[in-house]
């Protein structure tokens, strides 16, 4: 329920709307009255529908707003009627209403106002209303046009939106399709690459296998051929040797046969000739009986003569042959003897060989011993005692020398001790001497002192005597004085005194005398002491001279012993040197492998490679020995069979061939077959070993070759396939397809040059024809051509990449797809670069 006072505001607001609407361009006319469509464009709300303005007339434009006041109160309904009456002119009504709205109470009051006033006001009102209505219509027209324009733009907008929608959906559909197609293409490509690589690998493997199998087959064939030939060769050689032996046998047989047959023939001929003679004699007799002409007789005789001569000749030859036969028999016997002799000689030779070996050993031993002896001798050379015959003697002398040496050492020690004792004694004596000397000096000093004292005493004595004299004279004078002056009384006293003094003097004198005596005694004593010391010194000197002699003798002995010791030292030094040499020798021996069997032992694993090889060799040797023995056996058998053949003579010879055929069965002994089997086995083992080795070599070669190809591919950018007939296929790693390859073949006579003979695809070839012409035909450099192609491909790829990037920049939604594609490409490239 809005109050009447709020109406003008509302009107103003409504009137303001069209003024605002054009400026905003329908973007947001009323603030909250705008909603967004799901597609994003703005639409007016349903409360202000776009159709309402067109359906409303200019008068009823305010109807919704007026509905409130109409229903508001009965008083207002009156005004409403009045308003309706005056509504004939829209402008007037509007103004009236406005005024009424503004001043409702005053209008009720105007019914009492005068008509003039009323008229004028009415006129005024009408004017204002008119003005109002005119402006209103104008405004409304404006609103309508604006709204229409808005509607039109709306429609246009909606149309555009619809189109945008349809385009969007189309685009999306196409994008989906594109995506799916690219995916499919990608998967197909991948599949094809996989299948291609797989098939290539299979082909390669199969080819390799085929090659290896062929190699193996050829090797085996060759091996078997070799083996066969070897075996046949062996058999042939054996049979040949056998044949040879048989032949020689047969030859010898033949020669003896021929000789015997010759003899038999001669015999026969002789018998024949005799028969003939008989016959001829018969004929002769008959002829004689017949006595047919002389011619026949002569002829017969001639013939007879001839026959006789012939017979004689035959007999001669016969004799000769028998002689020869005898001689041959003799010689044969001789040969037998010689053979035996030869055998004995051989045995002797064998013995001699043994002896020689022994002799060699002995020589070596002798050498060693000589060396040893030399060493001994070298050690003893300078001591002038080279006449040792045996080490025992030497050792003995050494031992004795050692004993001597120890004894001498002891003696020396003793001497040294004695020397030491002497030294000590001498020292003692010297000390005594020095002591005595000092004592002597002291005594002398004392003596001189005493003498000086004595002299002084004598001097004092003289002085005292002189004093006494003077005193006596004084006394005398005094006495005289006394006598003259006093006389008598004092004399006694004086005499006593004189006596006393005299006594004193006497005492002094005695004392002096005693002192002089003591001095004399002292001097006497000192002289006696010096004599004693002199005697002592004499004895000491004697003693020392004796001891000196003794000491010099000792010294002599010691010097001698020192020399001996020096000699010994020299000897020991020499010994040391020889021992050093020995040590060196021992060290060398130890280095060469010698050891002390008493302390340690050398062990070896039984199944060492050397032992294994030794065992194989031993086995071979055993087999050969066995074979040799068997062959010798068969030979002796053959030889035994031959003499028996001799006995049977010619009859046997008829069966000779048959016999040989029979013997053939036993000619090759089982042992040689066994040996051959062993050989065969060994060879097979060797073959297996070789096979293993060649396999290892092949493995390492293929590894190396792969490495090499990898290096070539990653450095030069070409995958190299070696085809049959020495052709080489080069595939650039920057190629997208497998068919894009160049095939080269080595030039004529295989001189190290290559020729381009084709390509995986004709198109690819044509693409690069120009650069091929330039680089190969004109400049003659295949590597340059290949580099050119690589550069082209790399540039092409980079260009493609750039293009794709640009496309992606233009279409952000595509970015992800492109990015992913580019990523894929990148990874592929990098894979190709780094790893196959």
């Amino acid at each position: 329920m809005s109050s009447p006072t709020s109406d003008p505001d509302l009107v103003r607001r409504f009137m303001n709307r069209p003024i605002h609407s054009p400026s905003t361009g329908g973007s947001n006319p009323g603030g909250a009255a705008v909603v967004r469509t799901p597609f994003g464009e703005k639409k007016p709300s349903s409360t202000v529908t776009p159709t309402t303005p067109s359906r409303l007339g200019p008068g009823s434009a305010f109807q919704p707003t007026w509905s409130g006041p109409e229903n508001a109160s009965p008083a207002m309904s009156l005004v409403g009627q009045y308003a309706n009456a005056s509504n004939r002119s829209p402008a007037a009504t509007a103004g009236e209403q406005d005024q009424e709205n503004q001043y409702p109470s005053s209008r009720i009051r105007t019914r009492t106002i005068e008509p003039d006033e009323y008229e004028s006001t009415r006129k005024k009102l009408r004017d204002t209303q008119y003005e109002l209505s005119s402006t209103k219509t104008e405004l409304e027209r404006k609103i309508v046009t604006m709204e229409q324009a808005a509607r039109e733009s709306d429609i246009l907008k909606r149309k555009l939106m619809a189109r945008v929608d349809s385009l969007e959906s189309d685009r999306r559909f196409l994008y989906e399709q594109e995506k799916s197609l690219t995916k499919k293409v990608q998967t197909l490509e991948e599949d094809s690459i996989h299948s291609k690589t797989a098939s290539n690998e299979i082909i390669k493997n199969l080819r390799d296998e085929n090659m290896s199998i062929k190699d193996r087959l050829s090797q085996l064939q060759e091996e078997s051929r070799e083996k066969q030939s070897e075996l046949t060769q062996r058999v042939r050689t054996l049979t040949a040797s056998l044949n040879h032996q048989q032949q020689t046998l047969a030859e010898t047989q033949d020669s003896s046969h021929s000789q015997s047959s010759l003899v038999a023939e001669k015999h026969q001929k002789l018998a024949e000739a005799l028969d003939r003679i008989m016959e001829l004699e018969d004929q002769n007799r008959q002829l004689k009986l017949n006595t047919r002409g002389m011619e026949d007789v002569v002829r017969v005789q001639k013939e007879l003569q001839n026959q006789v001569a012939y017979i004689k000749q035959l007999e001669g030859t016969n004799r000769q042959l028998t002689a020869e036969c005898k001689h041959l028999k003799d010689t044969y016997r001789n040969v037998e003897v010689l053979k035996e002799e030869k055998l004995s000689l051989e045995q002797k030779l064998k013995l001699m060989d043994d002896l020689r070996v022994k002799c060699g050993k002995f020589e070596v031993q002798n050498g060693v011993l000589l060396k040893e002896k030399e060493q001994w001798a070298a050690f003893l050379e300078k001591s002038d005692r080279t006449d040792f015959n045996s080490p025992y003697e030497l050792a003995k002398t050494v031992a004795t020398l050692r004993g001597d040496k120890t004894a001498l050492m002891e003696v020396r020690d003793e001497f040294q001790e004695a020397l030491k004792a002497r030294d000590a004694y001498i020292e003692q004596v010297e000390q005594q001497l020095s002591e005595l000397k000092t004592r002597l000096v002291e005594q002398e000093e004392i003596c001189s002192k005493q003498s000086s004292i004595a002299r002084r005493h004598e001097m004092t004595k003289d002085f005292a005597l002189r004093q006494v004299e003077s005193l006596k004279e004084q006394l005398k004078s005094y006495d005289m004085e006394e006598v003259q002056l006093m006389g008598g009384t004092y004399e006694n006293q004086k005499n006593i005194r004189i006596e006393q003094l005299e006594k004193l003097i006497q005492e002094c004198q005695s004392k002096l005398e005693s002192m002089a005596a003591t001095a004399n005694r002292a001097t006497e004593e000192s002289s006696v002491g010096s004599a004693a010391t002199l005697a002592l010194l004499q004895t000491i000197q004697d003693q020392s001279s004796v001891s000196f002699n003794k000491l010099s003798a000792e010294k002599q002995a010691l010097v001698e012993s020192k020399l001996a010791l020096h000699n010994e030292l020299e000897l020991l030094r020499k010994e040391n040197a020889s021992l050093d040499a020995k040590v060196l020798e021992h060290e060398i021996a130890i280095g060469a492998g010698a050891f002390n069997p008493a302390v340690s032992r050398v062990l070896e694993i039984k199944d060492s490679p050397a032992a294994r090889y030794q065992a194989i060799r031993q086995q071979m040797l055993d087999a050969l020995k066995e074979e040799n023995a068997a062959l010798l056996q068969s030979l002796t058998d053959l030889q035994q069979q031959q003499p028996s053949g001799h006995i049977f003579g010619q009859q046997q010879s008829a069966f000779g061939d048959h016999e040989v055929a029979l013997q053939d069965k036993n000619v090759v002994p089982i042992a040689s077959y066994n040996r051959l089997l062993g050989d065969f086995k060994r060879l097979q083992e060797e073959f297996a070993d070789n096979d293993k080795r060649s396999k290892r070599l092949k493995q390492s070669w293929t590894l190396k070759a792969d490495e090499f190809l990898d290096a070539v591919r990653s450095l030069l950018g070409y995958k190299v396939n070696f085809l049959d007939n020495g052709r080489v296929e080069l595939i650039s790693v920057y190629n997208a397809e497998e068919q894009q390859s160049f095939v080269f073949t080595s030039g004529q006579n295989d001189e190290g040059t290559m020729q381009l003979v084709g390509s995986g695809s004709q198109k690819y070839m044509e693409e690069h024809k120009e650069s091929f012409d330039h680089w190969v035909n004109q400049l003659g450099s295949i590597p340059a051509f290949l580099s050119r192609v690589t550069l082209d491909l790399v540039e092409q790829q980079a260009h493609q990449l750039r293009e794709e990037q640009q496309q992606h920049d233009q279409h952000p939604p595509h970015y992800r797809l492109f990015q992913s594609l580019a990523d894929d490409d990148d990874t592929q490239n990098s894979d190709m670069m780094v790893d196959p």
Partner: protein, 242 residues
């Protein structure tokens, strides 16, 4: 006292095991390397591996491999029992079976060496055996002078040992240059010089010491672990006509 000694004993055991392992490994690579360098098997029998900072060639032939493993297993057992004195690789001619080369590896037990030798020196009283005793005493003084400063020496690190092994292997590789060419087919065997009282399995037996006649010899470097010292030496046969 015993309780104090026990841990050191067990520690010794551990170091003995470690030392044995190092030595056995060294032997494996060394023998393989020699088999390759002296041409006893074709080069394709070997493949390259990295060891001691060097490219070592190790056989990939299963037969040779298993044979080597068997030998080294036994050597390891002997090493653990301290019974092995020398390991020798002898190269022989197939044709004549003469020994052409002899690679000798002396194994010294550096820990209990001094006690062993002091026992031997005290027993020598016979005047005639004095030179021998003197020789031995010289060697003992030499070894004791060697071992006595080594006692306070700090224990060797694995790296130092490896460096020594590397040096010795390098020297072996270089020694091919002065050794005579093996121009005949050759085979090889491994000998073990052990103490008299060592346990011997049934697969091993006493063997010829494979002396080299007319031999020239070259001492190679040596290496030592905390318990063992390995001296290497190669003796080879000089050609008779030279």
């Amino acid at each position: 006292m015993q309780q104090q000694q026990r841990p050191t004993n067990s520690r010794n055991q551990i170091t003995l095991r470690g030392s044995t392992k190092i030595i056995v490994e060294f032997f494996e690579y060394c023998i393989n390397s020699l088999l390759f360098q002296r041409g006893l098997y074709a080069p394709e029998y070997f493949k390259m591996t990295k060891k001691y900072g060097l490219n070592m060639l190790v056989t990939n032939d299963p037969e040779v491999k298993s044979h080597m493993r068997e030998i080294l297993k036994q050597v390891e057992a002997w090493l653990m029992a301290c019974k092995v004195e020398k390991l020798i690789l002898a190269i022989k001619s197939k044709e004549t079976m003469t020994v052409l080369e002899r690679w000798q590896f002396d194994i010294h037990n550096t820990k209990d060496l001094s006690s062993n030798f002091s026992a031997t020196t005290t027993t020598s009283t016979d005047p005639f055996s004095r030179p021998l005793a003197g020789q031995e005493s010289i060697s003992t003084t030499a070894t004791s002078s060697l071992s006595s400063p080594s006692k306070p020496k700090p224990e060797k690190t694995e790296k130092e040992i490896q460096t020594e092994i590397q040096a010795i292997l390098r020297q072996i590789t270089a020694s091919v240059s002065f050794l005579p060419m093996l121009d005949e087919k050759c085979t090889w065997t491994i000998l073990c010089q052990t103490e008299k009282d060592a346990e011997v399995p049934a697969t091993w037996s006493d063997a010829d010491p494979h002396l080299v006649h007319n031999a020239e010899q070259v001492k190679l470097r040596s290496f030592s672990t905390n318990l063992h010292k390995i001296d290497a030496l190669v003796a080879y046969r000089l050609n008779d006509d030279l």
